[in-house]
Symmetry: D5
C-alpha cells in the first residue's frame, strides 16, 4: 500500500552545525535502511528546496506513522501524507 | 530527468456522459503509450479524489509540456509540476 | 485501518430538484449499507454546511478509494482524506 | 453534543527534553481521564504529523473550552474546533 | 449557548430577479421569526459584501444546524460557524 | 457604529509566567472599563483557542484604533477588523 | 472617516456585450457623482486587472455600505473593505 | 522599467472551438507586435499549465495597463503583476 | 506614477524598547521627509493593526525600491506593492 | 532549459550585521560567477521586498538544484521553482 509524503526540513536557529551534520548522518542511515528493506520505495529532492517527495510501501497507517516518526530529523520536519490507490490507466 | 505532476480533473457541467467516457478512453490510450515508451514512469490515484500524482521522465521542460498538453483531458485538468533532483540519501 | 474524510457537496446549477432528491436517496442507501457492513464507522454533519466528516475502516487505500468513488454523489463532492494512526494516549 | 477538534502540537525551541517528556506524561493522564469520563470519545494520531483528531462529547461550548484549555500542552497547541450535528444518513 | 456564523450569499447565474426577490422576502420572515424567538440574537451586514455575521443562541449543535439549514437561502450561502464560550473578561 | 474584531493572542517565547499574568490582569481591567463605558459591547472566547471575537461601538475609525492599540496585550495580538452595517432583516 | 476598498469585477458568462457596456456607463455616472460629492476621494485601476482600489470618505459604516451596494455593478463585484485611521507619521 | 506578469488563461465553457482558435490567432499577432516593438521582452510557457510568465519593458504603469488590457484574450486571463527593480548583484 | 504599498511591521523578540523607540523616531523623520518631497502622497494606519497603506508617487520601479528599502524599519516590515494606473472613471 | 525561481531572503534573528554583510559579499561573487558562466540569465529585485526573480539556464534538474543549494545564503532563502517551456507566441 503506497503513500506519497512531502517532507520539508526546517532546523531551529539554535542547532549547531555539528548537530545538523550529525542529524543528517543518522537520517541517511535510517533512510537507506528503509530503502533496503523496501519500505521506502523512492525519495527525490524538490529542486531548490530543503524538502523531498518520498513514496512509502507499508502495510498500515500505523506502520507508516511509526516509520515517519522514527526519522532522526522528524522533530524538524513538516510532513504531509497522501494515500495513493491504483490508477485505472496504470499498466503496472 | 524526473518531474512530479499532480493532475486534478474537473469536467465542465455541459459535457455529456458520452463525451466523458470517450475522453477517458482516449486518455487511457495516451497514458499507456507514455508508460510503454518510458516517459510516464508512475501514475497513482489520489485516494478519494479525481486526481493523480504522476512521475515523468523527460529530456527537457519543452518535452514535458508537449507531453502534458497532449493529454486528451488536458483542457479539463489543473496540473502542478515539481522538478525533482537526485536525493543524497537515495540508494538508486 | 482508519481514515478521516471530509466530504463537501456541491451540486451543479443544472441539476433539477428531482435529480437531487433521487441522488440523496441513493446516497442514503449506499451510506447505510457501508455502515451496516462496518466500513463506515461514523458520519457526522458539519453544523451549518452541506458537508460531513466520516470515519472509514478499510483494509487498504484501494478499498478506500473504491468505496469513496462509489458514492452516488461522488461526482459532486470534494473529498479530502486523512490517514489515522493509533494515538499513544488512546485507551482503546 | 459532539465536536471534532484538530490539535497540532508545536513546542517552543527553548523547552528542554525533560520538560517535553514531563508535559507528555501529564497530557497522557489528562487525556485518559477525559476518555474514562466519556468526554473524549475518540483520539487518533494524524499519520506523519505531531497532531491529532479528537471527538469530544460535552454539554456546552463552555465545557468544551474548559476541557481544551485544561490540556497540559494547551499553550503549545493550535486547536481548530468543528461543531458536529447528527447526519441524516447515520444509522446510530 | 452562543455561536458566531458568517454567511456569504452567492446566487447561481440562472436565478431570475423575481426568484431572488421572493427568496429575500422568505429569508426576512424566517430571520425575523428567529430573532423574535430569541434564537438569532444579532445579525449585522458586513460592509461592502453580500454577507452577514450572526450570533445564534441555541441548545445544541443539532438545533443550530436545523436552524441554519432551514434558511430559505441556505442552498445559496456559504456558512462558517464558530462556537463561542464565555470570556473571562466579560462583565456580563 | 459597530465593528467586529477577531483578536488572536500569541506571547513571545521569552515572556515569563509572571509577565504574562501581569499582562492578563491589566488586560482585564482595560477590557472591563471599555465594557462599562459602552465601547466594548460584547466579548466572547473562541472555543479551544486563545482568541476572542469582540464587538466595538465607536464613533470613528480613529477611536477604534486608539482603543485597540491601547490594549495592554496589543503588541502580542493579531487583530482583524470587520466594519458592520445595519442588516435589513434585523428587528432591532 | 476613510475606508480603503478593493473591488474586483467579474461578469457572469451570460451577460451580453451590450449589458456590460450599459452597466459600465451607469457605473461611470455613479462613480463620478460620488467623486464630485466628495464621498469617493480616489479611485485607481490595479495594473493588469479588472479591479480598483478606492478611498471613501464617509460618516459611518452604514453610509459606506449604502454607497458600495448602490454601485450598478455591485452584484458582479467582490469588495473587501479596510477601515483606515490617521497615521502618526502623516503630515496632513 | 520592467514588470513580471503571470497570466493564466481560462476560457468560459460557452466559447466554441472556433472562437478560441480565432482568439489565439489574434493573441499571437498582438503578442508578436509587442515583442517586435520591444515592449514584451520575454514570454515563456509555464510547463503543464495554460499560463505564461512575461517580462514587459514600459515607461509607466499606465502604459503597462494599456498593453495588458489590450490583449485579445484579456477578458479570459487572470493577470498578476510584479514590479521589478535592478538587482545589486546583476552584472547587466 | 503611483504605487500602493501595504507595510506590516513585526519587530524581532530581541529588540529592546529603546531600540524600537529609536527606530520609530527615525522612521517618522524619513516618512515626513518623503511626504514633504512629494514622494509619499498618503499614509494611513490600518485600524487595529501595526500596518499601513501608503501611496507613493515615483518615476520608476528603481526609485520606488530605493525609497522603500531606505525606511529605517525596512528590515522589520513585510511590504507588498501594487502598481496603480489611471482609472477610466476617475475625474482627476 | 529555463527555470524561473523566486527567492525570498529571511535571516534568523541571531545573525550579526557582520555575518550578514559577509554573506551578502559571498552571494554577490557566487551570483556574478553564475551570470558570467551563462547559468544565471537574469536576476531582478522584487520592488519593496528582500526577494528576487531569477531565470536559470541549465541542463537538468540536478544541475539546477546544485546551483541553487550552492548559494551562500541558501539556508536563509525560501525558493520556489517554475519550469519554463517555449511559448508558441515567442519570436525568439
Amino acid at each position: 500500500m503506497l503513500f506519497l509524503a512531502r517532507m520539508d526540513v526546517q532546523f531551529p536557529a539554535h542547532l549547531s552545525t555539528e548537530d545538523i551534520t550529525r542529524l543528517q548522518g543518522l537520517e541517511k542511515e535510517y533512510s537507506q535502511a528503509l530503502q533496503e528493506g523496501g519500505r521506502l520505495v523512492s525519495i527525490w529532492r524538490v529542486a531548490g528546496e530543503y524538502a523531498n517527495y518520498s513514496v512509502f510501501d507499508v502495510g498500515s497507517n500505523d506502520e507508516l506513522h511509526q516509520i515517519l516518526s522514527g526519522f532522526p530529523m522528524y522533530p524538524h520536519m513538516k510532513i504531509r501524507v497522501t494515500p495513493l490507490a491504483k490508477h485505472p490507466n496504470s499498466i503496472r
